[in-house]
Symmetry: C2
Subunit: 342 residues, 2 copies
DNA sequence: TCGTTGTCATCAATCGATTGCAATATACCC
DNA sequence: GGGTATATTGCAATCGATTGATGACAACGA
C-alpha cells in the first residue's frame, strides 16, 4: 500500500513550485520551459501521482460526477437502467455513482445527502413510488443545490425534471390488446396500494375496459407487490375467477403468476392468456414467450441524461421539463385469440 | 435549486465563529453555552445546512465511503453482489459507490482512479478475469494508497486480499454429480478462452473425469462467452455430440443452451441432462428447475466486507488474506439418473 | 545607464471544513 | 483589589489543489 503523493511533493522533488507542477500537469497554457515540463511529467509518472479530486473539486466546484439512486439494484429493470445510464455518462466524461436504497424514503434521503455532500454535479432519482413518508425527501429535493432528474417514477407535486414512460398508457395498451384478441373477462394483478406506477397501470387497464363498455369488476382486480413471491401468493385467487386473461403489471408479477399457473397444471395461453410488463427478462427462455409492454431502460437513460446535460450546461429552462415516453407492445405467444362470440 | 450553504454563512448569521458552529454541529465536547448551541442548530436547520463532505474529508482524510467495480451491473450475479455489499456497508455506516466498467481493463483502471481520487476509503474489485491487457491495472492496484479487496476473481500474481468461491471445486462438483448419476459422456460449455474462472471450472470438470478414469475428450469441450446469445450459438455443436449431459459453466450459458434445446424439441432431462452455475436466477421459473452449482453473492459480500473492515481498522496482516469459499450443489430437476450399464 | 520586452516561474488567496491553542470575559476566593 | 479558576469563544494553520496577479532575470536598443 503506497502513500498518497501530493502536488507539493512532486514540486519539491523537481525543485519547482506547486503552481508550476499543477500548470504543467493540467496542460494549461503557461510558460514553463520544455525541459522542466518533461521533468515534471516524468517525476509525476514515476511517483504514480494522481491528483486528489477532492481537493480539486473543492476549488473547481465541479466533479464531473453524477449520482443515481435506485430502489433496488437487484431488479433487472433498474440494473439495466443503471448500466445504460453509466455508459451514457461515461461517454460525456462523467462518472456515475450508483447507489441502491432498499426503497425506503429514509434511505433515499440519506443516500441523496451522501451524494450531494460528496460533490456530485447532479443526481438521477428513481424514488418516490412507494407510499412511505416522503415529506422530508421531497423537502430535500426541492432545496437541492444541484440539478436532479426524476426517472421512471416521481414524487407527486414536486417541481423537478421528470423522464418516464407513460404507465397509464402501458396499462391501457395491454388491456386494449387483450380486448382486441376477443377477451372479455380480463383480470389484472397490480401493485396499486404501494406504487404510483401500479396505480397508473391500473387506471389504464380500467380506461381500456370502459372505452369498450366492459364492466369494471373489482373482483377481477388483484393486488401484488413487485416481487415474485408476492405475486405467487396472489395468483391463486386470480385463477379462481372466470377470467380468460390476466394483465400482470410487471415482469416479476408475471413470473410469480406463471409459477403458480405451472404448478396448477394450467397452460398459457391455452387456459389463460397473460400480458406482462417491462419485458426486461426478454432474453430468458420462457415457455411460452411473454407478450408484454416494453419500456426500454436504455431510452429512459438517454432522455434522462439529456435533461441532466441541459441543466448542467445551464441550458435548462426555468420550469421543470417533463418527458413522457410511450411504451411498446411486444407481441409474443402468451395471448390466445378468442373467436368472438361474446 | 437552492444555493449551497456553508459553515461560514451559518456562523455569520448566528454571530459566532465558524469553529464554534463546527464544534456544535458535530457534537464535539466543547464549552459552548446551551443558548448558543440551540441557536446554531436552529439556524443550521432553517437554512438546510449540510456539511460539505468534500471539504470535510479533505481535512479528516477519510470519507466513510467505499467503492465497488464490477464488470457488468446488468448481470444478475453482480447486481446481487452489489446489492448485498451495499447493504452490508451501510450497516457499518459506509456508503458504497457502485460502478460498472464494461469489462475492459482500461475502463477498470479509469474507474479505479476515479474512485481513489474521489477519496473512497477502500475498493472492492471484481476485475481481471478477461484476458485484456491488465498490466497498467495491476500496476495501479499494487500502488494503491487505500485497501483493496478482490472479489470473485483476481488479477493473477497480485498481492492483494482476495475473496472468492472455488471455481475449480465448482466444476468438479458439478461433473462429479453427473458422474454419480451415471453419466459417462459429459460435455461442457465454458468460457475458458477469455476467463480465469471459466478456466478453473474447466479444470474442475477435467479433474472429476480423470478421477474416475473417464477420458478427457476435447470434442466434448465447448467454448462460450458468458452471454446468452454466445451460448445459444455454441449449443448446436454440443447437441451434435453423443453427450448425455452438459455442464454449463454459468447461468447465462445454461440459458442459451436451454433456448437452443427447446427450439430443437429436446427435453431436459429426458434427452439431455444439464448442470448450471450460479443459480442466480433461481427464483425465475424454469422448466425444469435447474440443478446448479450455487455461489451465494451475499456470502461473498459478507466476507469481502470482513476483509475490508479489518484493513480499514488497521488490523489487516502484513500479508494479503485469501478467502476461498466452497460453492454448493443445489439439486433440482435437470439431471436424469441413468441406470448404470456403462 | 535606463527602459523595454520577453521568458520562466512563483506568490498568495481560495474552496469549506476541522481543531489545537490562545484569548477574553466573568465569577470566585482570600 | 489582586490573583486564580472557569466558562466561552475565536484565531489561524491545515488538508491538496487551482489561478490571477506578480516578480526576477536576461537580452537588447537607444
Amino acid at each position: 500500500m503506497a502513500n498518497k503523493v501530493t502536488l507539493k511533493q512532486i514540486a519539491q522533488e523537481v525543485g519547482l513550485s506547486p503552481s508550476s507542477v499543477s500548470l504543467v500537469l493540467n496542460n494549461r497554457p503557461c510558460r514553463i520551459s520544455e525541459e522542466n515540463r518533461k521533468l515534471i511529467k516524468e517525476v509525476a509518472a514515476r511517483n504514480h501521482y494522481v491528483p486528489n479530486q477532492i481537493a480539486r473539486s473543492l476549488v473547481m466546484r465541479e466533479s464531473r460526477t453524477l449520482g443515481l439512486i435506485v430502489p433496488n439494484i437487484e431488479s433487472r429493470f433498474f440494473a439495466s437502467l443503471a448500466g445504460s445510464l453509466e455508459k451514457r455518462c461515461r461517454e460525456d466524461g462523467y462518472a456515475l455513482f450508483i447507489t441502491s436504497s432498499g426503497g425506503s424514503a429514509d434511505d433515499d434521503l440519506e443516500l441523496l445527502r451522501q451524494l450531494v455532500t460528496r460533490g456530485v454535479d447532479g443526481v438521477f432519482l428513481v424514488v418516490g413510488d412507494e407510499f412511505s413518508d416522503d415529506r422530508a425527501l421531497r423537502e430535500e429535493v426541492s432545496h437541492l443545490p444541484i440539478p436532479a432528474v426524476m426517472v421512471d417514477r416521481a414524487i407527486e407535486g414536486l417541481e423537478c425534471d421528470k423522464v418516464m414512460f407513460d404507465h397509464e398508457m402501458g396499462g391501457y395498451m395491454a388491456t386494449r390488446y387483450l380486448i382486441e384478441q376477443g377477451h372479455r373477462r380480463i383480470a389484472c394483478l397490480v401493485n396499486a396500494r404501494r406504487s404510483n406506477t401500479g396505480r397508473k397501470r391500473l387506471a389504464g387497464y380500467e380506461r381500456a375496459l370502459r372505452e369498450v363498455g366492459l364492466p369494471i369488476d373489482a373482483r377481477l382486480e388483484f393486488e401484488s407487490e413487485y416481487y415474485i413471491p408476492s405475486a405467487y401468493e396472489a395468483s391463486e385467487a386470480v385463477l379462481a375467477t372466470d377470467a380468460t386473461a390476466v394483465f400482470a403489471s410487471s415482469d416479476n408479477i408475471a413470473l410469480g403468476l406463471l409459477k403458480r399457473l405451472h404448478e396448477m397444471g394450467k397452460s398459457i395461453p391455452g387456459d389463460i392468456s397473460v400480458v406482462s410488463y417491462d419485458n426486461s427478462a426478454a432474453d430468458v427462455l420462457f415457455e411460452p414467450a411473454l407478450t408484454a409492454i416494453e419500456q426500454d431502460p436504455g431510452v429512459l437513460a438517454e432522455h434522462a441524461f439529456g435533461c441532466m446535460s441541459k441543466r448542467l450546461a445551464g441550458r435548462g429552462g426555468r420550469r421543470a421539463e417533463e418527458v413522457v415516453l410511450e411504451p411498446a407492445l411486444i407481441v409474443k405467444d402468451s395471448v390466445l385469440e378468442l373467436t368472438k362470440h361474446n
